[in-house]
Amino acid sequence: MKRIYMDHSATTPVDPLVVDSMLPYFTEKFGNASSLHSFGQEASEALSTARQQLAESIGAKTDEIIFTSGGTESDNLAIRGVLEKKNSGKGKDQHIITSLIEHPAVLSTCSFLESIGYDVTYVPVDSEGILDMDEFENSIQDNTSIISIMHANNEIGTIQPIREISKIAKENDIYLHTDAVQTFGKIPVNVDDLGVDMLAISSHKIHGPKGAGALYVREGTDLEPFIFGGGHEQGLRPGTENIPGIVGLGKAASLAKERLGNDPEHMLKLRDSLISKIFDSIEDVQLNGHSEKRLPNNVNLSFKYAEGESLQMLLDVKGIAVSTASACSSKSKKESHVLTSIGVDTDYIHGTIRISLGKDNTMEEIDYVAQSLKESVDKLREMSAISKC
């Protein structure tokens, strides 16, 4: 069976060009970048090149790139790095502003910080997922140290007005971090245009390898590491550098930048075609998120009378990979905090799936997926005890 992958927000296949770029660093140029000898120098040159590629792709300086193990670690480093920095003089009397719909990498970090004494405000969003700017501005305190607002949401694809947020952050002299894990490669990501002090990237979301990520840290931003060891990555990220992973990330970043003129447009066309096909053929369905300020590859749908996991599984049986927002667990059905925050109706919330497109998806696939989705929804509704309530 031919399989169709439409879960690119979860992870992406590594680009063959990226794999090729990585291969020499496993068996031939395998040195430790800290070593002075020729093997080490090969590694450290590769590291520099990757740093340059990544820096260029987001309009940063090479010194402003800290390589990490992934998006989660980058988010942790940004927020905790600022708060835990020594000589801040403020200790735990510091305040963090974030949103209700951040990724767990940010939310769990914030709730950990809350548990040890920091003060956190979770700013709400409107029904399309856009940050409530009034509440945001009102939440600023004298002791606010950092604002962390994601560039675009991983579930519903809503893009936040980071530039506006940045203006307010700057007026108040507060560091701004943005989680750009879902935007990089899909919409332009330039650190100066966005006006951010920190920005998180994850390699495996941009056709790079898993196990690599980066944090952009604007020159002059004072950070402490939160993992301790050798002095790698300007003292901010110890541990022997994952050279093949970082090389792959560098290559993936420069490819993503190059393709920004084509890939997103292609995905957008597929996205809009899929949405209209679904709305034409299926009743009682809604699109979650924003109609325009939306990632070009994100389709988040809620169906009445058809449960998300079951829908996802029926599609999987047909060879189609999408994701479901609501996950069953032993205690109770966990509802997505994002869907709850934008106020999705109970009738709809359990019937949610996310379809996230990639550059290699085709219009033919879109047709098949739309058709399969209709069949699957019909089948589940047929089976459902509440479809006629």
Binding site: E307, G308, E309, S310, M313, V317, C328, K333, H350, A385
Partner: protein, 123 residues
Amino acid sequence: MYSRKVIEEFTNPKNVGVIEDADGVGETGSTVDGDIITIYIKVNDDVLEDVKFKTFGCVVAISTSTMVTQLAKGKTIDEALKLTNKDVIDALGGLPEDKTRCSGFALVALHKAIEDYRGKTAD
């Protein structure tokens, strides 16, 4: 994560539907939970001559629903009441550990249907 058998039962569920003149109907779950299972029984001479279900819910909800109807159908009421959660899980070739709680819902619906039937016949 799900066994082959679960996926098979889930994809091709037996006994889907409503028994219009059911002798008993049992329901578990709620829209808020996101799982609603309704089981219908037709009883003849103490035997569950027909058992059908309608389910809104996840893979576990649907696959246990169809399995419970299959296991119960043809059994006497007493035999059907002896069915355990383990029987259902075993017949499905196992369920992920964190789903075992949910796996009991369909059986509860069956029990409720039998109660409903007994309530009616006791009248």
